[in-house]
Amino acid sequence: MTTYLIRRTLQGIMVLFFASSLIYLLLDASGGPLSQLNGQSFRNAGEKQAKLKELKKKYHLVNLDNSERNVLERYAAWLFNVDPEGDSDPYFLQNKIDAANRVIASTKPGSISYTQQQLALQDAQSKIGKAAENLGACKNLFSGDNFSKCMSVQRVGGILSGNWGTSLTVANNEPVLQLIFGKPGEHLRSSLANTLVLLTLSLLLSLLIALPIGIYSAVKQYSITDYTVTTLSFFGLSMPSFWFGLMLILIFSLWLGWLPSGDIVDHLENKAEYGDIGVRLKHLIMPLAVLTITSIAGWSRFLRASMLEVLRQDYVRTAWAKGLRQRAVIMKHALRNALIPLVTLMALAVPGLFGGAIITERIFNYPGMGTLYFHAIGRIDWPVAMAFLLISSFLVILGNMFADVAYALVDPRIRY
């Protein structure tokens, strides 16, 4: 089992790597971070060029000497950017030398600025040789001992070094990691925490409701309950979730006034703390209903079909013939075998959860990662969008790994 886990983890990391490259390529091919300039108008071409240059530098689309990078270099720069910064950047040092020379040429020797600039000049000139050599090493990263030389420079990292960028348009220059994971000390209130609460609760609730419905429907086949459940499951599968959410708001918030229609706390009515479980649950009811309806419909139908197939098997007949009670036959023998394909179905449903989260959070104004992503998409905030896609891919792959392990645990025939 441990070897299987290790192998599976390595596989997961590889898939994550491929997924991240696919996401980056897809977004890069559709325009990349520069497409935020599409809708904007500029006073003249010069202003547009300046903004373009600034963005290209910010998103590592060009080398330090402003030469264009090809797509592989861009992806590598995004992942583990090795561009040096500050005193390791020869272009930065060259600019300092030029500025110092200009000041020296225009001031009197002996004045404060003259001596300052002389010192700065000497300092920069002593460092620039090493910096240029290191930069050369970073350009041809994998030849000779360039790798160690380049890794020793002081640099701005990429995704793998923890530099996920700052958000341009969604939150004014706030670091993306802080935006998603919350300020230190407030991690439980962060967008990611809110969304995870929503998603895990919806998974658990779907499972808790779909299981009894599916079992009952299979055991009492062709009864009224069975027909009702089957027809209702069609309804659930065909329901557009955003319409369902809007209808719920219409009925329960506007016409009946029972449930609040958005956010996670009532800001005006009671200054409830974020930890007040009652208030949070009240705000969670409708979003959970929207998220779970399609899952419940699909899973209960699937479980019903799976149970029906299992109940026809010979070993179940043997169990009946042995005189076991109905509960023992169904729960202990039939259900355990019927659950196995359901695990696969649940694993396949995890990617769809994030799409559902975006829609649900948008309708109910729920402060989670979904609304963050939605705003980022609307204003083309590249770092936030990439961060969301990366996190959700990671969680999906993690979910798949859990599903595989659960599969191995649930099915005793599988031995790795």
Binding site: L237, S238, P240, L250, L254, G352, I359, L389, S392
Partner: protein
């Protein structure tokens, strides 16, 4: 002896009339009453959308004359004697006409994307399933990676970067939606390619293309058809979700999704505008699901 003969006679099915596969399928399809309801609703909606230009009284894009009030309720008669059967929307355009043209857009995107996804998915799945080996490995690795990406967020991101429009959304949905079909086709082809008639055809010297196109694919049509039918509903849902979120089809072009998002701020004024577009999406997808389920039962090779 006579009793045994009778029971034997009763069990023998009459083979004097040879039924084609189509008529067998139709006979089995006929048993599902819900599917006929679905067919009825769906054909009504498709017909209404196709002939929208003929029967809608007003232009869905044009700005209305100032005499018309916005957010009116059904059967509203304006000051200039125009009658609006379902009322007007937030600018004053006729709601019914917008629903019809929106139906055109939503339904056509669903069908078009399904056809494209069917073609691409079948091609990839057939090649992958038939040839096996390294081709299969590579293609299925790509499919696996694509399946482990969150679908809607990626669609939103690419739509936002590529811009809005009909063909953008068609392109994005096709490019990211062909994976489930290809997996399905690959599974079917794998289960078929080891059968004896394929071996016989190979022995007779048929080329690979001929085997795939003339022998394997026609026999694997059943799951492809069911999958395609259910996909139409799925893509209609996804397209309306994307339009609802503001990407894809944007106003003034009506799509059932963006009509819902237009109406979202006006809960108290015009609740009907929230009910109708979503209801139409729901009915369409429901009908498609009924039909698809009945087709699946009718085409299932295990129940003969």
């Amino acid at each position: 002896m006579a009793v045994a003969q009778n029971t034997l006679d009763r069990e023998v099915v009459s083979t004097s009339k040879i039924e084609s596969q189509l008529s067998v399928t139709w006979r089995r399809f006929r048993r599902h009453k819900l599917a006929f309801l679905g067919l009825f609703i769906l054909s009504f909606l498709i017909l209404a959308a196709l002939t929208a230009r003929l029967w809608t009284p007003y232009d869905p894009y044009a700005a209305p004359p100032p005499a018309v009030r916005n957010f009116s309720s059904p059967m509203y008669k304006a000051a200039n004697n125009d009658v609006f059967i379902l009322g007007t929307d937030d600018i004053g355009r006729d709601f019914l006409s917008r629903l019809a043209y929106g139906g055109q857009i939503s339904l056509s995107i669903g069908i078009l994307v399904t056809i494209l996804v069917g073609l691409i998915g079948t091609a990839v799945g057939a090649i992958s399933g038939y040839f096996g080996g390294i081709v299969d490995s590579i293609l299925m690795r790509i499919v696996d990676v694509l399946l482990s990406l969150p679908f809607l967020p990626l669609i939103l991101a690419v739509s936002a970067l590529l811009g809005q429009g009909y063909w953008t959304i068609v392109l994005v949905l096709t490019a990211l939606g062909w994976t489930t079909t290809s997996r399905l086709v690959r599974g079917t082809i794998i289960s078929l390619r080891n059968l004896e008639y394929v071996e016989a055809t190979k022995a007779l010297g048929a080329s690979n293309t001929r085997i795939i196109t003339r022998h394997l694919l026609p026999n694997s049509l059943a799951p492809i058809i069911v999958d395609a039918t259910l996909n139409v509903g799925g893509f209609i849902l996804i397209e309306s979700a994307v339009s609802f979120l503001g990407l894809g089809i944007v106003p003034p072009i009506p799509s059932w999704g963006n009509m819902l998002s237009d109406a979202e701020g006006y809960f108290t004024n015009a609740p009907l505008q929230i009910i109708w577009p979503g209801l139409l999406i729901f009915l369409t997808v429901l009908s498609i699901n009924f039909i698809g389920d009945a087709l699946r039962d009718a085409l299932d090779p295990r129940l003969k």
